[in-house]
């Protein structure tokens, strides 16, 4: 590719402006405007693509609604009840509270599409419980909350998978199904690692909850546990669109915490709305930039150019997937996840198409990768969040995160090598890929 072509200069400008510290969304819009100018096209196209893209992509509305649902759940006492229920389930084993942390994340993940919301919701509570009486070191507790929160957006629903559906034109329903087994697999390897460490480090056991308490605890948590059933039921029975399912989930979370548990007042509702709106705006700006930049990719016909280039190399789909994994893992150490998903993945996607890699498999692999990126130093949002919540130095958390990072990358390799782990459930429900 000619280094002085408008497209190269556009990419260069986006990278340079981001490095100089502009918000990534603005950098993408500005770079694309530069492209339109250099290519002699109408610069109003940037506005046109942004406005039409935002105005017609109804699917994107699922994102603010999923954020809102998570905020509503966190503002009530849903988390409390869930924790007590999880404790009855796995607290009796060695390293019980640590296992509770992971199980709680798996359950919460099936209601929320956001890893940061999971850490924000359970982080404080889990930290207090785990470090009380010196049961666990603060660093281990914080590290564990960070890595278990990674499951949030892999097990459906999932905000990053909605974004991937947007850039790849893939069915959101099948993508969600594709995330189920990989998400559970990650949870299992984390729990296995805890079980192994628990013996060596002599983690404490929680007093076993007597069997007769179980019905009451389950009843207490029942409305919360019904949430995934309602959400996924709405989605897969075809009663509602994914976007409406997200709205239903938010309404249900609000109803449960406000009316059933009576733990949310008008003030909390207002605060949840404000927080969600702020998150929505910052992610929305990135989406706006991506819409404009994706238009540039389309008119430059990058997919075609790439597949012609690839003919020259003997690249197998597997080798390409491994290369993609490597690129995304390295980038995940330095870049913010949404940026990778909306800027880097669209560039990698056409080659995957050309090589015949299944788009659902590719999407789930990419998202698992990006989620692992949330806990890789030096730049990992979940790590930063736990530093703030637990008030533990970053380097201590990082040390405790490392073994988990190892097993999660192992699980990622497995998901990459065995596409059936991702595609089994979607195919069961009629996916033809």
């Amino acid at each position: 590719m000619n280094p002085a072509s408008p497209f190269s200069l556009c990419v260069l400008a986006i990278v340079a402006l981001s490095l100089l510290g502009l918000p990534v969304g603005h950098a993408m819009i500005a770079g694309s405007v530069l492209y339109l100018y250099l290519a002699g096209l109408d610069m109003g196209t940037a506005a046109e693509q942004l406005l039409n893209g935002m105005y017609t992509s109804y699917l994107l509305l699922a994102i603010p609604l999923f954020i809102l649902a998570a905020e509503f759940m966190n503002s009530g006492s849903i988390m409390d009840r869930l924790l007590r229920w999880c404790n009855a389930l796995v607290g009796r084993y060695r390293g019980g509270l640590a296992q509770v942390n992971v199980v709680q994340s798996i359950v919460f993940a099936s209601m929320s599409g956001s890893a940061l919301a999971d850490a924000a919701g359970s982080g404080k509570l889990m930290q207090t419980l785990m470090t009380r009486d010196g049961k666990y070191t603060p660093a281990f507790a914080a590290a564990l909350t960070a890595v278990s929160s990674v499951l949030g957006p892999i097990i459906p629903p999932s905000i990053p998978l909605v974004l991937y559906a947007l850039i790849s034109d893939t069915s959101i329903g099948y993508l969600f199904l594709g995330g189920v087994i990989p998400g559970l697999l990650l949870g299992i390897v984390q729990m296995a690692l805890i079980a192994l460490t628990a013996k060596r480090r002599n983690f404490p056991v929680e007093p076993a909850v007597p069997l007769r308490e179980w019905p009451r605890l389950t009843w207490d948590a029942f409305p919360a546990l019904m949430m995934p059933v309602i959400l996924l039921g709405c989605l897969y029975s075809g009663i509602t669109t994914p976007t409406e399912a997200a709205a239903a989930a938010a309404a249900y979370a609000l109803a449960v915490s406000a009316f059933l548990y009576r733990s949310t007042g008008w003030r909390d509702v207002y605060n949840s709305l404000v927080t969600s709106a702020r998150i929505t705006v910052s992610i929305g700006m990135l989406i706006a930039g991506a819409l404009v930049f994706n238009y540039v990719i389309t008119i430059e016909n990058i997919p075609r150019t790439l597949s012609v280039m690839l003919k020259g190399y003997e690249l197998s789909p597997l080798v390409y997937l491994l290369i993609v994994n490597l690129i995304l893992l390295v980038l995940g150490c330095f870049l913010e996840g949404t940026t990778i998903l909306l800027v880097i993945v669209p560039v990698l996607l056409p080659t995957a198409h050309a090589l015949g890699i299944d788009p659902v498999h590719f999407g789930v692999v990419a998202v698992v990768n990006i989620m692992i990126g949330l806990v890789t130093p030096p730049y990992g949002l979940l790590l930063f969040m736990m530093v703030k919540i637990a008030e533990v130095p970053l380097k201590d958390i990082v040390r405790e995160v490392m073994p988990f990072l190892g097993v999660m990358i192992g699980a990622l390799a497995l998901i990459t090598l065995v596409p059936d782990l991702v595609l089994f459930l979607p195919r069961l429900l009629g996916y033809k890929g």
Binding site: V24, Y55, S114, G284, M371
Partner: protein
Amino acid sequence: MAGLLGLMFVAFLLQIAFRYFFNFPVGWSSELTVATWLWLVLWGSAFVLKESEEIRFDLITSAVGPRARRAMGIAAGVALVVLYGMSFPAAWSYVTFMKVERSSYLHIRLDWMYSIYLVFAAAVIVRHLWLLWRLARGKDTEAPDSRTASSGL
């Protein structure tokens, strides 16, 4: 801004209610939801979001000294103002041209619907001019804090 999101939420609930409980699908609610989404993002980004809340790549800006950071901020700000400024007339003519179309249910003229982009672009330019002026007078930019940026992941 919370109002816009609240409105979107309520419109969605009405939409589902109308469709399933009254068996009477309505189009205006879905139109209202996309309109609130568009306005929420552009309005919020132009006027509400603080510099420190935006998603940016701050590994370098937070590592260099204040002098270098100032220089980088000025370079980026100038580029942004120039590029947004250059595209503003074209965006203006696109948006005003959209007066020929109306939305299908609420019959809002699309130039009104889309005018938020012009407000947004103008606000971004003014905001960065103001930041540039501060930088030129030797004030440091707000220290980037990656812990406050929230991306919904």
